[in-house]
Symmetry: C2
Subunit: 342 residues, 2 copies
DNA sequence: CACTTAAATGATAGCGCTATCAAAAACATC
DNA sequence: GATGTTTTTGATAGCGCTATCATTTAAGTG
């Protein structure tokens, strides 16, 4: 009874198919399909029979066939610029938890902060006909934007706020956050505030611009030092040393992220400098370790997990209700976290 | 000319298909298929024509159809217990870089350290008919192991070494690493060595056992403190306080990871304890920040990126040469990194 | 230039599933 | 019990691609 099948098709993979289950249960294939996807449409009696056959045969649905027949892929593509940056795993967690419990799978890709790579990846990922796409930031190439729009797939840009989103957008203003932080430093009485950044991806850049705006507002002087190297504790300590040896009278430094700030904080400690008396230090992101440093680090907290969750929910909502999105744009906000390092 | 198509099929998604490209280029669909997948079989002339049509029409291949017809999915499933644990993003990077440049996509899932979730995820992921699967650790449920074996998909277990791998295996012995580290502490003259762990996933557990073996070898006393809470700087500092207040004469502590160790190190500093004179501290994993702490943290370094890369290569090799795998098991090793915290 | 061999193209069928419409069975109404 | 209404099941076709085999065309060979 199986032979004929094999005889007909020499390409058979040997895997149990839906038809095999149907035969075993004595029903038609389509009924099995319904029992699995729309159980309400099938009588209890048959559902039981089918469930048994599924178990006995160890049936595993074929996603490609399902996807081809229904043009639903149950796949969400997530494109991040980096994984080693601790910010993204947290966002990913939020995305993952929400999407997986809604029956979606996550196809992950890493651009290494390259827009060209992002374009290539978007192209590749579109082949999957994903039900939704998450991209990071707002600086996609024109080509990428068009690809995404043409694909007609729900898209959420995360991390930042786009004046003119591709589709949906969940993020915050890094400019504002950094502007507020710098203003806060001024409000504490610091006069000569520096800024240190590394990697200088676009969000770091906007943080720098926020700092610059604040300095301008206060008629202060800019002390900016930035490197294209990746961020790390070590990089933070090196840049810190470089900046204070150039400008020994700086009394506070805002860093483009907590890694750098922590490295600087430790370096300052190593040199016997008192924090914040000799030098105040502020970071960005509020990573897990920041409040445990000595002294605890003043920083900007952004709701990373929550951002992932909300982005996922926007996507799910739009997938369910093709028309109105629940969100065009969500400003997820940030908060200045004052601690003893300033 | 397009109308007839739409008339025939009301389900058409409107997306450009391979047949559309064929029609536009004036060749048969199968020739287009070949031009894209086996360019060597198609003449230059036609390839050019086809390339133009692809561009003009903006053709994007349909992965589901390709996968269904060829039973190749070009998808590799990666199942991790956690993303927030900094170890995994590094491994993932290694996997990603190798797999993406070989034309594969990564489907990522997170078990949150639950074997049951892992089983569910494996089941779901098998629906994708992935070309390969990466799972973390060696403690899959019996069911999971059988599912994986039956699926006939190449599998690599990573992180640890399995006596009896499901298929392939790239990892290291956490027991040995921790045993060596503890021996090393004894060799430095420490007499009362404690162990602090959190989360106590299976790798942490084996690290604890390595510690215990070493203590036993030295006829020493065990001072173990473990918590099921997640690891963090804060958790490390709390457990540290708890352990030293119970056993004030402990002179060294091995931690199940660097996060905990760093938290303890900072807590000790906060309390005016000298490291390593009053208390020596050692971690595990050699995370990015560990050498920047004050004092720098003695730890065990494991080649995370490399492990991901090798696992990916094993997979690719086995996919290419269905028969002999290049590796059944690779011991990726570890190294004790002595720094000033001990 | 007929004749073999190799290279390039095409026709056909089917991968495993679901959308769609049609038929049958179960239930309700008078 | 004949009629209409709903619920449950099935037959058919096709999603967009590639494996397979058949055919054509080009390239060698003596």
């Amino acid at each position: 009874m199986k032979k004929e099948k094999l005889a007909i098709s020499s390409r058979s993979t040997g895997r149990i198919t839906l038809s095999d289950v149907a035969e075993h249960a004595g029903v038609s294939p389509i009924t099995v399909s319904r029992a699995l996807k729309n159980p309400l449409q099938v009588s209890e009696k048959l559902k039981e029979k089918i469930a048994i056959s599924v178990k006995v045969l160890g049936y595993i649905p074929n996603h490609a066939a399902r996807s081809l027949a229904s043009s639903e892929s149950k796949v969400i593509t997530v494109i991040f610029p980096s994984l080693s940056n601790a910010v993204f795993p947290d966002v990913l967690d939020g995305l993952h938890d929400t999407l997986v419990s809604a029956g979606y799978r996550i196809l992950l890709a890493n651009t290494h902060y390259s827009s060209e790579q992002e374009e290539t990846l978007v192209k590749t990922m579109l082949e999957q006909n994903p039900d939704g796409i998450i991209v990071t930031g707002i600086d996609q190439t024109q080509n990428t934007r068009e690809l995404l729009k043409l694909s007609n797939t729900p898209v959420v840009q995360i991390m930042e706020l786009d004046q003119n989103p591709i589709d949906m957008n969940v993020g915050l203003s890094h400019f504002d956050a950094s502007y507020d932080l710098t203003n806060y430093l001024y409000s504490l009485g610091y006069k000569k505030i520096g800024f240190i950044g590394a990697r200088m991806d676009l969000r770091s850049r906007r943080r720098m611009e926020g700092y610059q705006k604040s300095v301008l507002d206060q008629n202060g002087n800019e002390y900016v030092l930035s490197s294209l190297k990746n961020t790390s504790f070590k990089q933070g300590s090196e840049l810190f040393v470089e900046l204070i040896s150039k400008h020994s009278d700086i009394d506070a430094i805002a860093f483009s992220n907590d890694d750098l700030a922590a490295g600087a904080l430790l370096e300052a400690t190593r040199r016997g400098m008192r924090i914040p008396e000799d030098i105040a230090i502020a970071g960005f992101n509020d990573l897990h370790f920041s409040e445990e440093l000595i002294p605890p680090l003043t920083t900007v907290s952004i709701p990373r997990y929550e951002m992932g969750k909300q982005a996922a929910e926007c996507l799910l909502y739009k997938i369910a209700n093709k028309k109105q999105p629940i969100c065009n744009q969500i400003n997820i906000g940030y908060s200045i976290v004052p601690r003893q390092s300033t």
